[in-house]
């Protein structure tokens, strides 16, 4: 050892700092392997050094729940109050869409029916026509008719009523906070930092403290959903208001608007398009989360999917419910997108539009009134429903019989040659080495202070005693990111080369992104059963989209003059790609990979359902055991991993862009 140290000391005089750092990192990795006895502490993190973060978090939450008081009321009373408030609020859409209202007891009961299925389908169809023409109308009709005919209506209405309330709260709260941050510049920094954090914390982690503080049930599901779906709306609002041309602000002031008038008469209406894009995002995130929130008792379609996953032979039913989720998601997505595109019109066109709107509303109310007389209009009689559950079960068993050997061979291959070796390697990796690798990489990207911050983030995993689960997370995440990139980048490349491919991929990505993450698990489990491979495939499918999108977009943005310069210099097609286009598009592509990592991390938690043993599993266990400390610490660890990847890639992209003069 002294030899090395000596050599190092001499090197110090001649070599730049980069070499020293590289040598130090190599030492930190290799030495624990070379001398496992002497440096046992550097290889496996000593159990005695573990800081009981989970216990602290647990104690903190217990303190919140039991002892924290704001003088007039306690924290617990506050959460109770909020949850009962949401409970009342939720009762309204639930009665309207799902249960109707029944007065009196069973005998002389008077029943006000819920919104009639016929009315809702008619209204959705007419409004879709108003928003996006015939194609959207067909889509709306088919989507909702599917839900009805296949007997998913009751669950879907529970979900829909929750979605409506959550979207309302998310949008209102998001716009409110966004305006606040826009108006009060001092708050902006704090708001942005909070949003950054909230958006890296995995979906599941929200559930843990909520279950603890609010309890299991639809209300905590709602709250989790709102918390999850609101941040993008805040961001969009801030951005949208900033993007309003300064001339419009000047106009407002020159016409003598009061500050309130400036905001509501000029800025907000002018930002309409951007704000509606935010609303679309909120709707999709809400749907995604409300399905997941079935875990803590939100009910609805999510519960059906979850239930199917838990049962051995429930896959057929689960697929049916999953498809209902897909139908709901696609219809809501396309309708809200069409709303963004909707331009104000005048004259006859405007009148036509108004008429369609009222026609939809009239159908909605008319059919509902009719269902006083014809109960079949409120709830479709069972004999009219079709279930494909048995068909899907048949499909599942057919798949099991016929594809099992193929799928199993693939599964075994992946496990033996890729997954297990990587997993073993990473779990056996010296923790000091991991810290050193991160520190070295961060140092080369952003200097000492940056390296210190990044190392602190990664250090959380061993220090909090999460080594094995953390490394499992890293292993699953990195393999899925590699595979997703290996699939996504070439697809994106193809998309950049042909218009038809571009369109096809665009439609595919749209659909993939519309599906709530939970739904991905169903077909995957069908093919690969429970285990790491299922998780891997689900993550790859879910996280692949940004790799395709950003590569396509990045390559398309290469200026034609550069391509011509490459061609004129005598490049072959491959040379042009490798020497001109890829280097130019690389920052954009890396941003795509960054997104892939973020999505993989969030999907990882959900895929713990199909039997991985990572941090996500710990969160899931924490929910079922109501151990908020464990769940939170695992959630934090995942969030830290996300922040780490995000900041490192962000630095790299910024440096690269600066060098290229963007």
């Amino acid at each position: 050892m002294s030899d090395v140290a000596l050599q190092q000391g001499r090197l110090h005089l001649r070599l730049p700092a980069g070499w020293i750092v590289a040598v130090l990192v190599a030492l930190a990795v290799l030495v624990p392997y070379a001398a496992p006895q002497t440096f046992a502490w550097a290889k496996a993190y000593p159990a005695t050094w573990i800081v009981p973060v989970s216990d602290w978090l647990k104690a903190f939450l217990y303190w919140l729940a039991r002892d924290l008081t704001f003088g007039l009321f306690t924290f617990k009373e506050m959460t109770r109050f909020i949850s009962s408030l949401f409970g009342y609020a939720l009762a309204v859409p639930k009665a309207v869409f799902s249960t109707g209202i029944t007065f009196g007891d069973e005998d002389g009961a008077f029943h006000i029916p819920r919104v009639s299925w016929a009315g809702l389908i008619a209204a959705v169809t007419v409004w879709s026509y108003m928003l996006g023409g015939l194609r959207l109308a067909v889509l709306g009709f088919v989507g909702f008719a599917y839900i009805l005919v296949f007997g998913q209506w009751d669950s879907a209405m529970v979900t829909l009523s929750q979605v409506l309330l959550a979207v309302l709260c998310g949008v209102a709260g998001g716009i409110g906070l966004g305006i606040l941050a826009f108006r009060v510049p001092r708050l902006e920094g704090a708001v942005v930092a909070t949003l950054d954090f909230m958006q890296t914390v995995p979906t599941f982690a929200y559930l843990v403290p909520l279950v603890f503080l609010v309890g299991v049930g639809p209300v905590s599901g709602m709250l989790a959903t709102i918390l999850y779906a609101m941040p993008p709306m805040v961001r969009v609002t801030m951005m949208a208001l900033k993007r309003v041309p300064p001339e419009l602000d000047e106009l407002a002031r020159m016409t003598g608007c009061q500050p309130r008038q400036v905001l509501w008469k000029v800025l907000v209406p002018s930002a309409r398009d951007d704000l509606l894009v935010g609303v679309n995002q909120v709707i999709m995130l809400t749907l995604n989360m409300i399905i997941i929130a079935a875990m803590i008792g939100a009910g609805g379609l999510g519960f059906d999917v979850l239930n199917a996953l838990r049962q051995a032979n429930g896959l057929g039913k689960g697929l049916e419910a999953g498809l209902a989720v897909v139908a709901l998601a696609i219809v809501l997505d396309r309708m809200s997108r069409a709303l963004v595109e909707l331009r104000p019109v005048h004259g006859a066109a405007a009148q036509h539009r108004r008429r369609l709107f009222w026609a939809g509303l009239a159908a909605l109310i008319g059919f509902t009134l009719l269902s006083f007389a014809f109960p079949a209009l409120e709830s479709l009689p069972p004999e009219w429903r079709i279930t494909t559950g048995s068909m899907w079960s048949d499909v599942v068993s057919w798949v099991n019989i016929n594809l099992f050997s193929t799928a199993d061979a693939l599964r075994t291959f992946l496990l033996i040659y890729i997954l297990v070796p990587v997993k073993t390697f990473l779990i056996g990796f010296p923790w000091v080495g991991l810290l050193a690798v991160v520190a070295g990489g961060a140092w080369s990207l952003g200097g000492w202070r940056f390296a210190l911050g990044m190392t602190a983030l990664i250090a959380f995993i061993p220090v909090a005693g999460l080594w094995e689960r953390g490394m499992t997370t890293i292993y699953l995440c990195s393999i899925s990111v590699v595979i997703a990139s290996l699939i996504g980048l070439p697809l994106g490349f193809l998309g950049s080369r042909s218009e038809r491919m571009h369109k096809f991929l665009g439609a595919m990505c749209d659909t993939l992104q519309t599906l709530p993450s939970f739904v991905y698990l169903l077909p995957v489990v069908m093919l690969f059963r429970i285990g790491d491979v299922s998780a891997l495939v689900a993550i790859v499918l879910y996280a692949m989209v940004p790799a395709i999108r950003f590569t396509d977009h990045g390559l398309r943005r290469v200026p034609p003059s550069l391509q011509e310069a490459g061609t004129m210099a005598g490049c072959t097609g491959m040379q042009r790609l490798a020497k001109v286009e890829l280097p130019y598009a690389l920052p954009e592509i890396m941003l795509g990979v960054n997104q892939v990592i973020m999505m993989a991390l969030s999907m990882l938690v959900i895929s713990s359902f199909v039997g991985t043993n990572d941090l996500g599993k710990q969160i899931q266990v924490a929910i079922s055991q109501a151990d908020p400390g464990k769940g939170l610490s695992a959630g934090l660890a995942i969030a830290f991993l996300g922040i780490l990847a995000d900041r490192m890639i962000g630095r790299w992209v910024a440096a690269r862009r600066e060098r290229m003069g963007f």
């Binding site: 041309p245 001339e247 000047e250 020159m254 003598g256 209406p269 104000p344 005048h346």
Partner: protein
């Protein structure tokens, strides 16, 4: 060269309303500064005569330096300069869209910079109108909704404001389009909406910030005529920003030329052509169609008593209008003012020199 043209020259050109120099000032600014950067105010208080180098050395940026102007009631006052010359900032200081760092702004003897936010709102609602370069139309409102907007802000009832808005829309010739949305209109039509909106509240003071710069040349010319037509009807006090010198001499009664935040010269187009204060101004005026800018009174020379004179031309006439008469006559032309008093003569040779730009 004789400088007699500063005498009033009413109805000299079809569009403009020449005003006497003693029309009361409407908008006045004195020693106005706008300096960007930390502690700009303190710096300026300590260095009231700061030079550009000192300002830069202090890490500050001066967008407007020591501007003093008097804009008279009913005149079209042009602020001209290239981009980055500070003309936009100056006009925003005059309307207090931008808070000046130092100096005074008076509108009809009220100190604009001392006004409370409420007073300012009232002033803007009733006295000021502004037209923007990129139109600044509200995309979610129809033409009618846009034009009625200032009245809506004032809280007028719907019927009244729409009635008044319709009148202004008629005025700019968009009657047929009142129900359209901005995106359904051409650029020229959009700016007509912008103009109509700025006039809806019947302001006395009208700011136009490069209103025609975003339009293509043919439309621009048409809109300039439209603007002159409106001003003949309305006689507002106008502050008009442009970077186009041709537009400036076409529209303006007086022109202020700005460079690097400083007003270099203020004068009529003719004064700028004949007596440029610096090479910079001279460079702007070099390519001007002189025949259309110079007047007989501006270039005439003193008469030798008893000299025989030929045709009589009014002092306010442009050289382009009198050239034929002067050149075809044997004797020099007599230049007379509006009351018929003899001001000087126009000699053929010097007239040609004036027209080709070698007169100085």
């Amino acid at each position: 060269m004789a400088m007699v043209t500063l005498a009033p020259t009413p109805d000299s050109s079809p569009g403009k309303t020449r005003l006497s120099a003693d029309a009361p000032p409407a908008l006045v600014c004195r020693n106005l500064w706008k300096v960007y950067g930390a502690n700009a105010e303190t710096f300026l208080r300590e260095n009231p005569e700061a030079t550009p180098a000192e300002i830069r050395a202090a890490g500050l940026f001066a967008a407007v330096r020591d501007a003093t102007l008097e804009i008279r009631q009913g005149e079209i006052f042009i602020i001209m300069g290239l981009s980055g010359s500070g003309k936009s900032t100056l006009v925003r200081c005059l309307s207090r869209l931008v808070e000046p760092t130092a100096g005074l702004v008076f509108y009809e003897h009220q100190n604009l910079l001392r006004m409370t936010p409420d007073e300012l709102i009232q002033l803007r609602r009733h006295k000021m109108g502004m037209v923007f370069q990129n139109f600044a139309l509200l995309p979610h409102r129809t033409v009618l909704g846009n034009v009625a907007f200032p009245l809506e802000v004032q809280g007028l009832p719907k019927e009244e404001r729409e009635e008044r808005a319709r009148k202004v829309i008629d005025l700019v010739g968009l009657t047929e389009r009142a129900g359209h949305y901005p995106r359904e209109l051409s650029g020229g039509q959009q700016q007509r909406v912008g103009i109509a909106r700025s006039l809806a509240a019947e302001p006395a003071l009208w700011f136009l910030d490069e209103p025609f710069s975003a339009l293509d040349p043919l439309i621009r010319h048409e809109m300039q005529n439209e603007f002159l037509r409106l001003q003949r009807m309305l006689s507002k006090t106008i502050v008009f920003i442009t970077h186009d010198f041709d537009e400036a001499i076409r529209l303006g009664d007086r022109i202020a030329i700005m460079k690097d935040g400083v007003i270099i010269q203020v004068g009529t187009a003719e004064e700028l052509v004949l007596k440029p204060a610096s090479d910079y101004v001279a460079a702007f005026t070099r390519h001007v169609a002189r025949a259309k800018v110079l007047t007989a009174g501006g270039v005439c020379v003193p008469v030798i008593p008893g000299e025989p004179l030929g045709p009589i031309v009014p002092a306010s006439a442009r050289l382009a209008e009198v050239a034929a008469a002067v050149l075809s006559a044997d004797a020099p032309a007599a230049v007379v003012d509006a009351n018929g008093a003899l001001l000087g003569k126009l000699v053929k040779a010097s007239l040609i020199a004036d027209l080709v730009g070698g007169g100085q």
